[in-house]
Amino acid sequence: MSDGFDTPLSPNPLNNVPALRAPGQGRDVPPPAGDSADKDFAMQRERMQRVIKAITPFISIVIAVLVSSVFIVATGGNPIAAFQALLYGAFGTPRAIGETLLRTTPLIFTGLALAYGFRSGVFNIGAEGQLYMGGLAAAYFGITFGGLSTFIAIPLIIIAAAAAGAAWAFIPALMKVRIGANEVITTMMFTYIGKYVVSWLVTGPLADNSGIPQSAQLPPSSSMPRLSAIIPFLGTGRAHLGIVVAVLFAVVIWAVLKYTTLGYEARAVGYNPFASQAGGISVGSTIIKSLCISGALAGVAGAVEVMGVYGRLFDNFSNNFGFTGIAVALLAKNNPLGVIAAALLFGALDAGAGTMQLEAGVSQKVINIIQAVIIFTIAAETIVTWSIEKFSARKGVGA
């Protein structure tokens, strides 16, 4: 099998940049079928690997909880109390559930953004910057469209935000395709540039003259309606209809990847750019499209935050949702529907962190450690595969 360097080197530097395949993709090709005994063994092994793959995310979560517990214990805290408080803060009351949904919403969008990118072999580490641009567009057009009805204004704002996010991803995409500039660096640089652009706009041209660096308030007609208007159970919580939009987007992206030519080309390029090129797919334009779609999704994340949560634009309004999206996409194994579940987990962690700090005295930063360990164990999923195979071999299972 190819180890990478056996593949002929392309003169196009784009193809020589580091492996940009997301983990878990393009590996574990089923062994070629031999005679029937071999075939049985191969099938059993394949089934076993599929089971391992399916449970890896859960094992990652367990490892993450254990590692963070070590940190909590080492600093004199009580991990059980901490995680209890965390759960209570995330799901304990209707208000807490609303808060969890509120934080899940942007994570679904950024998770989708990263997952779509990973599927097509690009690592959009700059989703955070595209999110800022989406938020900026939402603030600008939200105020402009103030006179329109909500049902017209909100879709228009979402489209504008998506376009802004896509535009912010377009230059890095072009640079990647034309000159082979690694998108990890370029999108990251665009994140910093985008943040300063927003920072400048809210202190200058878009400032609301209150002396605080922030834009004017969005009119009610271009704000996301509260979810509690439909589900009274949620009470006075801040959760908004964005969560419904987010789930819709997840289904659409799932369908796009599965059923459309666009999605097929994206997956093909992510799986093997050489074969795709040989098969007549334009790798360059597919990468540009994919990064722009990824950027558009991140842009919508910014828009729902501005429309649904803050009602205005200000410095650093994103709670690192662009970066958490990386963990969400990886945990979901880049499956758009899985993104909903993974985003819910991270949304709950985020929502419960405050309660954990208040009631168990454990720093919220432990959430970052949990996220990092989840990414790490999924990246190095052979840790899990290897230990399970060792374990089951000893027990005589599977072989």
Binding site: F5, D6, Y196, W200, S363, N368, A372, I378, A379
Partner: protein, 318 residues
């Protein structure tokens, strides 16, 4: 006004500000020449800055802090080496995890040790190696000020980075070790065939990269700032990666590329002082180094080609 901006201080500041970028970039060049991508530089620098400060505070010795910081960064880079070399994980994802872990661990321990987020207590910074008086004799006056400021005003790690640039460029292209290192990144199978231990070679390269990023963090926290602030690296790790690519995976060139970024940063700081004269919002100066990175990557680098096996895990067939 031009001469108010182009002072010797500006150039000395450029060198000082480029040092953390240069160290990380040169370490990364070693790492990528061996075939391992290290986008964890940002996290490694942060970890070193934090643990360096902690050690310095508790031992009342800033030099021990430097060692502590370098050691911590090497420990984190060992994690990256283990995942990406032995477990053949996706190197970019592993690096991202380490960046996030560094942010989490430093933030968490910050609150656990110091009881508050934000900034640690100050530590005394490492003083410059030379400390010549500013004024010079007669005619030499201005010239001496220039030489003194630009050549003799730096702290030890800054001089070390200059030494390392020369030494590592020589080692990479004029020694057997360097030849082997480059073989690992170009064609590990060939290297393996002639009896070079690919995994060990890559481990050493990743650890060197970790140590350099560690020195970069120590320089930032213990020579420049005198303490740790949350997320104080603020993208320097990524700029270092850009500098490494701009320098075509050659340590000496990476050092020179870093000088360019250091100059952009120094200029940005200097220009802010004149912001009432030149009516430009400060954010535009702040984004200068990042814009420069993009421009450099877009326009100047052009055909830079990474080592052939960069980013590809190696599995021995033997």
């Amino acid at each position: 006004m031009l001469w108010q901006i182009l002072t010797p201080d500006l150039f000395a500041a450029a060198v000082r500000l480029s040092t953390p970028i240069a160290l990380a970039a040169m370490g990364a060049a070693v790492c990528e020449r061996s075939g391992v991508v290290n986008i964890a530089l940002e996290g490694l620098m942060l970890v070193s800055a934090f643990f360096g400060t902690v050690v310095a505070i508790f031992t009342h010795n800033t030099w021990l802090g430097v060692f502590g910081g370098v050691f911590a960064a090497m420990a984190f880079s060992a994690l990256h080496a283990w995942a990406s070399i032995n477990l053949r994980a996706d190197q970019i994802v592993s690096g991202t995890a380490i960046n996030l872990l560094a942010l989490g661990v430093t933030g968490f321990l910050m609150e656990a040790i110091f009881g508050h987020p934000g900034t640690t207590d100050p530590v005394p910074t490492i003083p410059p190696v030379f400390n010549f008086p500013m004024g010079g004799p007669g005619v030499l006056g201005t010239t001496w000020t220039w030489i003194n400021t630009i050549v003799f005003s730096y702290t030890p790690i800054v001089y070390f980075s200059m030494f390392f640039a020369v030494f590592m460029t020589w080692a990479m292209f004029r020694t057997r070790w360097g030849l082997r290192l480059r073989a690992l990144g170009e064609h590990p199978r060939a290297a393996d065939t002639v009896g070079i231990n690919v995994l060990r070679g890559r481990w050493i390269a990743v650890l060197i990269s970790g140590a350099m990023a560690g020195l970069a963090g120590a320089n930032l926290a213990l020579e420049q700032v005198g303490g740790f602030t949350e997320n104080m690296t603020n993208g320097r790790g990524f700029i270092a990666l850009a500098a490494m690519i701009f320098g075509r995976w050659i340590p000496g060139f990476g050092f020179l590329a870093s000088l360019l970024f250091g100059f952009a940063d120094a200029l940005q700081i200097k220009l802010q002082i004149f912001s009432n004269v030149i009516k430009i919002p400060p954010q535009f100066f702040l984004m200068l180094p990042y814009v420069l990175t993009v421009v450099v990557l877009a326009g100047v680098v052009g055909k830079a080609v990474a080592p052939a096996a960069d980013g590809k895990p190696y599995k021995s067939k033997g």
